[in-house]
């Protein structure tokens, strides 16, 4: 619908989009935000706590670091989550009873927040994480099959990791003693800042309902690696985590998604209020953001090599600049990063011309880290 309308407008070449500045008289908020799922299966449970900030505030996240976070069962069992860093509270392994309900209790700044009692949801395992190359890049799919015990509502998030290299491995460097402006030749290429790693977390809410399908079967595209992206320039890995959520949780998240990821065309609904399953018991009027679910968490990791997706078309956009090897030229060019010799005097073996480039083309640490992830092959 929306697409149709946009095309229609494009047809008429009439519509336009301008940026909009918010009104100035906006109040401060500071409501609690609870982000995370209680893992009833194998593995750790992470709950992230923060507070809402004003749009104009300079900092991104206002972490809540002093809270006491517990998971309480109807049978009075209690599990504590400890603060690790940046508002993240962890319990390495909860042992929850599927037959009873649990709730989350948070104490912070003399206020108490309680979720409703939440049933423990079963989740199907991930059948496979697979991918398909299209004109737009590589689509990553997750497949699963639910059963009569599962809710039919899914949520996924994922971690991406990838290996990449600098454009060049230099064999030259500036001679620091005695004269800074002469180039000397290292016999072997410098690979210390050649191979690096980078990671990213999912930033969108990926949810799916199979309620309208005759079978609880999913073939869901969790993300797309865009064509020619640096993520797949060497080796790419994605870890997809899957949770089962409740119908209410699904509705909550789809509303949040609509409010924050999808609004803006003519036929979109107005932003709607979010009311999760957590309330502030000391001040019931205070809004709390988040919908806590208890679900088994399943995850699966796959790797994709650049060679599997060629032609990929990634370039960092680096070029080599030819330079005469003398102090004046080097100073005049602003000390560019030396890469490899261009011309060497056949008599003296002295480099007369060299190729130089920008530092980011030989130092991958500017875009990533040298630390290889533990699971990397």
């Amino acid at each position: 619908m929306k697409k149709l309308f946009n095309v229609f407008l494009a047809l008429l070449a009439l519509s336009c989009k301008d940026s909009y500045d918010l009104p100035v008289n906006i109040p401060a908020t500071g409501y609690l935000v609870v982000d995370g799922t209680i893992n009833s299966g194998q593995g750790a449970t992470y709950i992230n706590l923060s507070k809402t900030v004003r749009l104009v505030d300079s900092f991104n996240v206002n972490y809540v670091t002093n809270a006491i976070v517990t998971v309480e069962g109807e049978d009075n069992s209690k599990f504590t989550l400890a603060h690790k860093s940046n508002g993240q509270y962890i319990n390495n392994q909860l042992n929850l009873n599927r037959a009873i309900k649990y709730r989350l209790r948070i104490r912070s700044d003399n206020k108490e927040y309680l979720s409703s009692y939440i049933p423990v949801k079963q989740s199907p395992a991930i059948d496979s994480v697979n991918w398909e190359k299209t004109d737009n890049g590589v689509d990553i799919y997750v497949d699963a099959k639910g059963n009569s015990n599962t809710s039919g509502y899914y949520r996924w998030d994922y971690d991406e990791d990838w290996e990449f290299t600098s454009s060049y491995a230099p064999t030259l460097r500036y001679n620091t003693t005695p004269l800074a402006e002469y180039i000397y030749r290292d016999q072997s290429a410098d690979l210390t800042k050649y191979v690096c790693y980078q990671a990213a977390r999912s930033t969108t809410i990926e949810i799916l309902s199979t309620a309208r399908l005759s079978r609880d079967t999913t073939h869901y595209r969790v993300t797309t690696v865009p064509m020619a992206s640096w993520k797949l320039s060497v080796l790419y890995s994605i870890l997809v985590r899957q949770y089962s959520i409740s119908k209410e949780g699904f509705e909550y998240l789809s509303r949040m998604k609509k409010n924050t990821e999808q609004t803006g065309s003519i036929f979109d609904a107005q932003p709607s209020e979010l009311k999760g399953n957590i309330t502030c018991s000391t001040n019931p009027a205070e809004p709390v953001i988040g919908f806590v679910e208890i679900s088994e968490m399943y995850s699966k990791r796959i790797f994709i090599k650049n060679s599997q997706v060629t032609p990929w078309g990634y370039t960092q956009g680096c070029t080599l600049m030819s330079l005469r090897n003398n102090p004046d030229s080097i100073r005049g060019a602003g000390y560019p990063t030396p890469v490899i010799p261009e011309e060497t005097s056949p008599l003296t073996g002295v480099i007369t011309r060299l190729y130089t480039t920008d530092i980011s083309c030989i130092d991958c640490t500017l875009r990533g880290t040298l630390t290889k992830p533990s699971f990397w092959p």
């Binding site: 008429l12 519509s15 908020t29 749009l55 977390r201 990821e261 803006g264």
Partner: protein
């Protein structure tokens, strides 16, 4: 005729006074009722073998009632002409009889007798004798004195009722909205949509003045003897082709007890600059005070704080559910077939009901009754064609209009990836009107429209309106008339997606209704009484969701059909208590039955309607009454004229609405569905108080008005946050009943005539909703009043037209309004790996104000009557200042930041040109 007068003149030589007739006259037996002279004479000629000579015209007002058995001819004639000034002379030797008026044929006959008798014969407009061939009204007709009714000897004093049609002399089409008033102004009437009027006049001499939109003012002099029929022909005012004539009722706005009613005729509509140059009824409506829209790409409109579904849109008595084409860029009504538009926004006549805010009554023309004519128009995106003419001359006429788009050339401009896309619409109107005789008329009207879009053969979206109505109007006599209408109205839409085989599906919605209504009007001396009954049978298919390919995994899902019947009876009286004080009082009683077959959910009492609180589902059989709602609706209007040009009006009305549109977008969107009231969704109820002051200046050439209103709405449907409206089996769990209140003041200054004409309207209005019942589910904004999505307090519109010559005029329209409310982010938070917006309470902030100015130039070809075709051009610019009026403001999290954007639908000037040829 000449021969007759020679004979008459000759006959004087032989004439003797009738009283002196010798015996031996033929005897006749005659029994006739309410007969004309020709019937009477035919009968006598047959029995007596005598020839009768008389001037038909003189006897046109005579009706004869006689019952005589074997009486002599003179006795019969004496009896027939008793109490009248008709006389007779029996010339038995010559075997003929002369019938005369005023004086018996003697030597003292007045000298001007024949001259008077022969004058104006060609101009007579009385139905039984009127000459239909005239094409121009002679000024002398205004000086002729018409005798109406049977002259009786009851003497002076008493009241008589005059009724008849007002028609266009050229096309024979009736003219609605003609204001007819006596020279003192104390007695007046307005013709209805069939051009019919009825007036109560004192006996004796009366002068009637007629005024109408774009017609030459005219008058008639009458001597009322008893009740009579009198048709009036009016002539188009050619010189005013390009004049803005907004109101027919130069005096009517002062005199009518109706308030909050606007009438626009198609000529006015044509002059207002329109997008793509296509005259648009809905857009012109929006320039009137109290009528607003959420934005540019929407033809849904809001009247005095009502939502878009609270307007009853009638096109020749058929209900139109989706009044727009192309996402609202065009209105569903073809300007070439529309005659006029009436909008009732405060005192809604008792004969209308079923919607809370307004009635928009659009009527199409009946078609030329004299000759085949037509027109064709070319615009940038659409073209139009219409043809009209008589099927049987002066009896049956038709008008056929069609429009279609040719947007394909636009699609060619798109990148190749869209080459399979299609977008377009068409609509067809047909109306046939037939006059059996002056007392019996039949009208058949049909409308069909279809919109279709498809994107790369992927998703196809289409919707369609279809309407058929048959209307029969019968006039019993001057005091009684009746109209009976039966009709079918339908609306449907489909969305189909076939690209992805697994997911291929088709979603459908449709609503159909069968209507019947009978309206009666009874004219009494100081009262006009209207009453009638109506019933609507609804059949609504809320949705079906079906797989569209064999591989599709979509589970077929069909929502149960809803059936209901809405019936009403009404009675209203317009009572002229004194010439200055008029009361219009009406009551309407509506009865609504929700019918089976249907499975109905019931929820635990006192708890929110949520799936968790579902108690049980009851199945009802076919035709079973599941739930009944009923209640009275009151309509009151009072007008008091303080002076000739100043009046005060007050009104109160209440209405009930049993069908609701479900939409959580701001404007009408093609995917909106309708819902009938059922045990879980109560009907909406609204009432309104209004008060208005009307003052005309400068000999009624400047009209001013101030109207204030206060309105309450109960059980107005709003939605829970994130409501899912499509294919929802328990829709009642996603809607909430809110209370609403609306109030405002509307000011208008109108100059309908002159070289410079137009109007200025200003409205201050609010519409606030409130949801504070915790049992109904979620409370919005803490239970406080919050502005509705279309609450736009200030609104100023200036429509102006300057006529340089009769062939060239320029129109300029400007409109300003407060931006509509939005819900804005007041903060942000980090969730799910991204920064997200935290939204404030519902509708607490506003988008920037709206301003737009449009210009159009109308250029007519020459006005020679004799040429085969008449051409006209319209050039113009929409959004002259190029202002980027935001339609919506929205916020997106992009790369972890929240950015606000405003979307403008028309970001620049849009020039347009339109060519029309009439033949």
């Amino acid at each position: 005729m000449t021969r007759l007068f020679i004979l008459l003149a000759l006959s004087f030589l032989f004439s003797q006074p009738s009283s002196a007739q010798p015996n031996g006259l033929p005897r006749v037996t005659v029994t006739i009722q309410d007969a004309t002279i020709s019937t009477f004479v035919q009968e006598l000629e047959k029995q007596t073998k005598l020839y009768f000579y008389y001037d038909k015209v003189q006897f046109d007002s005579l009706r004869i009632n006689i019952s005589a058995k074997d009486a002599t001819l003179d006795k019969v004639l004496d009896q027939a002409f008793a109490n009248t000034d008709f006389r007779y002379t029996i010339v038995s030797g010559e075997a003929y009889v002369l019938l005369t008026k005023g004086v018996r044929i003697t030597a003292e006959l007045p000298g001007d007798f024949f001259a008077r008798g022969s004058k104006d014969t060609s101009n007579l407009a009385l139905p039984d004798f009127g000459d239909k061939k005239i094409i121009k009204i002679d000024a002398s007709i205004e000086n002729k004195v018409f005798d109406i009714g049977i002259k009786t000897n009851s003497g002076a004093g008493g009241k008589t009722i005059l009724a008849g049609y007002v028609r266009d002399v050229k096309t024979g089409e009736p003219i609605p909205g003609v204001s007819i008033f006596t020279s003192t102004g104390s007695i007046s009437a307005v013709t209805d949509q069939y051009g019919y009027y009825s007036l109560t006049l004192p006996k004796g001499r009366n002068i009637l003045n007629m005024q109408a939109l774009g017609m030459k003012d005219t008058r008639r002099q009458l001597i009322m003897n008893s009740d009579g029929k009198f048709d009036i022909l009016m002539e188009e005012r050619v010189v005013s082709l390009k004049e803005v004539i907004v109101s027919a009722q130069k005096l009517n706005n002062i005199r009518s007890p109706q308030m909050g009613m606007d009438r626009l005729n198609i000529k006015t509509i044509r002059q207002v600059p329109a997008l793509f140059g296509e005259s648009d009824i809905m857009r012109v409506m929006l320039t009137l005070p109290g009528v607003k829209t959420a934005g540019e790409a929407s033809t849904g409109f809001n009247v005095r704080g009502g939502s878009t579904d609270q307007n009853l849109i009638l096109f020749n008595d058929a209900t139109i559910y989706n009044p727009s084409h192309f996402f609202g860029f065009f209105s569903a009504f073809n300007p070439d077939v529309v005659k006029d538009v009436e909008l009732y926004k405060s005192s809604i006549p008792a004969k209308y009901g079923g919607r809370l805010s307004s009635v928009l009554d659009i009527s199409s023309r009946e078609g030329n009754k004299k000759k085949i004519t037509g027109s064709a128009g070319l615009g940038i995106v659409t073209s139009r064609f219409n043809i009209e003419g008589p099927l049987i001359k002066d009896k049956t006429s038709f008008i056929l209009g069609a429009r279609a788009t040719y947007a394909d050339w636009l699609l060619k401009l798109l990148p190749a990836e869209y080459e399979n896309s299609k977008a377009g619409f068409y609509d067809v109107n047909l109306q046939i009107s037939h006059q059996f005789n002056p007392k019996n008329n039949l009208y058949i009207s049909g409308y069909y429209s279809r919109d279709k879009f498809s994107l790369n053969n992927d998703t196809t979206f289409s919707y369609s309106n279809r309407n058929l109505s048959i209307k029969y109007k019968h006039i019993f006599n001057n005091k009684w008339s009746a109209t009976v209408v039966a009709g079918y109205d339908g609306y449907e839409y489909q969305i189909a997606s076939e690209k992805d085989k697994i997911n291929a599906h088709e979603l459908k919605f449709d609503i159909q209704q069968l209507n019947f209504k009978a309206d009666f009007t009874h004219y009494l001396s100081n009262h006009t009484i209207e009453f009638g009954v109506s019933t609507i049978n609804y059949k609504l298919n809320p949705g079906s969701y079906q797989p569209k390919s064999p591989e599709s995994l979509i589970v077929p899902d069909v929502l149960q059909t809803e059936n209901a019947e809405e019936s009403a009876a009404y009675l209203s009286d317009k009572w002229s208590i004194t010439p200055n004080l008029t009361l219009q009082a009406g009551i309407r009683y509506s009865l609504y039955n929700f019918l089976g077959p249907k499975d109905v959910n019931s929820y635990a009492p006192g708890l929110p309607k949520e799936p968790d609180n579902l108690l049980e589902t009851t199945s009802y059989g076919s035709g079973k009454v599941i739930k009944t709602y009923h209640g009275p609706e009151y309509r009151l209007g009072l007008r008091y004229s303080l002076t000739e040009s100043f009046s005060v009006k007050a009104g109160y009305n209440s209405l009930r609405q049993y069908i609701h549109m479900l939409s959580n977008t701001t404007s009408i969107s093609p995917t909106d569905i309708w819902k009938l009231s059922d045990p879980n969704i109560r009907p909406q109820y609204g009432d309104q108080f209004s008060l208005g002051f009307y003052k005309n200046y400068k000999n009624n050439t400047i009209e001013t008005s101030v109207e204030v209103y206060y309105k309450r709405i109960k059980d107005y449907l709003d939605y829970k946050s994130g409501a899912e409206l499509i294919m929802n089996h328990t829709i009642e769990t996603d809607v909430i009943n809110t209370k609403g209140k609306a109030y405002g003041i509307e000011l208008m200054v109108k100059k309908p005539t002159g070289k410079l004409n137009g109007w200025i309207s200003y409205t201050y209005s609010r519409i606030l909703l409130k949801m504070d019942d915790p049992n109904a589910g979620e409370i919005i904004n803490g239970g406080d009043y919050y502005p509705a999505n279309y609450d736009k307090p200030h609104d100023l519109t200036v429509v102006s037209n300057y006529r340089f010559t009769h062939r060239f005029s320029i129109s300029l329209t400007s409109t300003y309004s407060t931006g509509r409310p939005i819900t804005v982010p007041i903060g942000r938070y980090y969730y799910g790996g991204s920064q997200r917006a935290l939204f404030a309470d519902r509708n607490q902030y506003r988008i920037p104000d709206y301003f737009r100015m449009d210009l159009s130039m109308n250029l007519d070809g020459n006005h020679k009557v004799k040429q085969k075709t008449h051409n006209s051009w319209t050039f113009g610019i929409y959004n002259l200042t190029g202002r980027r009026n935001p339609y919506s403001v929205y916020f997106v999290s992009e790369n972890g930041f929240i950015n606000g954007y405003r979307l403008s639908i028309f970001g620049s000037l849009i020039p347009f040109v339109n060519y029309t040829v009439r033949f």
